[in-house]
Amino acid sequence: MKLKPIIYKTFILLTITIVSCSKDENFTINNLNGNKIDAYGHAGMGNRSTYPLNCYESLLKCLNFGADGTELDVQLTKDNILVAFHDIDLSENTTINGLIHSLTWAEIQKAVYKNPIYTNYNIITLDHFFANVENLNTYKYTFDIKLNSSSSNMNKYLNSFVNELSKIITKYNLLNNSYIESQDEDFLKLLQLKNSNYKLFIYPSSFDNGLETAIRLNLFGITISTEDITKEQIRIAHDNNLFVTIWGIHSTSANKDGIRKNPDFIQSDKIKNLIHLVD
């Protein structure tokens, strides 16, 4: 088999592909965020990276790459510790079983993420994370609140969650550089009662629901999948003085499509590319 011609042709094709992919598009941004889109990692480096979502290494690498900030999923343990974790049940991606809220932090810290292969990354508390971020207040943080209670007393659970989140925001002086997003209106109302300066986002099932809720509750904005919102709807949100965060961005082309919609914040699984595009 004549291999050299194949190698040369492959080399030329790949070179053309790499060069063509590097061509940049100039975006004209028009939004409420000073006509700039903030680039956030999805739970750090996103679900296409070699780190588990929300682990310390993933969150830190995202920030160290130059992102404006990162989104992180937040859950409450049985003993009222806030941890960064995405899934409903620990068994989906770790070596232990159960809801975060059904276990104490002492039990949860024994968990090891199953992926990637040959690694043993751990779950982290918000306290440990923020205590170890250098230049903490130069970044922004979006708390995606995951309300997965194992308790029958929902009011007690929500109040505990709000109190612990407030403690973290106060302890690390994050009031001006943090956003809180939730699907639960009651949770958002409790946060508003706690501190009216919190920047709160509704995480709705549809744009229309989100717009109505955000206006009614006087929220800071709407967090929504890029699949569920158009450029025109983002303009409508902006006309109502509502910031818009989009997520569900899994590729470099989705980064570009997202930017063209003029949101204020993008949470991307391809954060390195997004940083490059919005810089």
């Binding site: 190698i7 070699t50 780190y51 290494e57 993933s58 043993n120």
Partner: protein
């Protein structure tokens, strides 16, 4: 980064081809290089194999490779994870071979220290097994493997795994 890996693969592949072509006296290929997709190296690895025993339709080789998960650590400094799959593989056949193997994987992964959250290297050893099909002529040339490669991570957690390889024997 991907571009660098591509150049490395191209270099290794070209080197193996030219080496095989210059030695026309070799009738049995005792060496091979291959690129694994998944397999015992994790998500992919570059491998070299040397046949150490060759009798009739049975060949036994020692195989070693190199792989990584990240070239930079979470501080973005060059500090690659290192994964070294090592195995002894037996082949039965002439062109279409049954392949059986077992070995160890050495992993040296950069993680945050639980004490001070600074990057630290964590060393571990894992066991791997291989059973599957290999297309490889005795005289060498193109090689293809399709294997089930279960791994006992950290000597405790059984993980179903598999892989595909393409390479060149010389």
């Amino acid at each position: 980064m991907i571009y660098n890996i591509y150049i490395l693969i191209l270099f290794l592949f070209s080197y193996s081809v030219s080496f095989a072509q210059t030695d026309s006296t070799v009738t049995t290929a005792n060496n091979s290089v291959s690129l694994d997709i998944l397999g015992i190296g994790g998500y992919g690895s570059l491998n070299y194999e040397r046949t150490i025993f060759n009798f009739s339709s049975i060949r036994v080789g020692v195989r070693a490779g190199i792989s990584t998960l990240n070239f930079t650590d979470y501080t973005t400094k060059f500090n690659p994870d290192i994964i070294i799959p090592i195995s002894i593989n037996a082949l039965y056949g002439n062109k279409h071979n049954l392949e059986l193997g077992a070995g160890q994987v050495i992993s040296n992964i950069v993680q945050a220290s639980k004490k001070n959250y600074k990057p630290e290297r964590v060393f571990n050893v894992h066991t791997n097994f291989t059973i599957g099909y290999r297309y490889q002529k005795k005289k060498g040339g193109f090689m293809f493997r399709l294997n089930y490669t279960p791994i006992i991570e950290f000597y405790s957690d059984y993980r179903h795994w598999g892989g595909v390889s393409v390479g060149y024997a010389f």
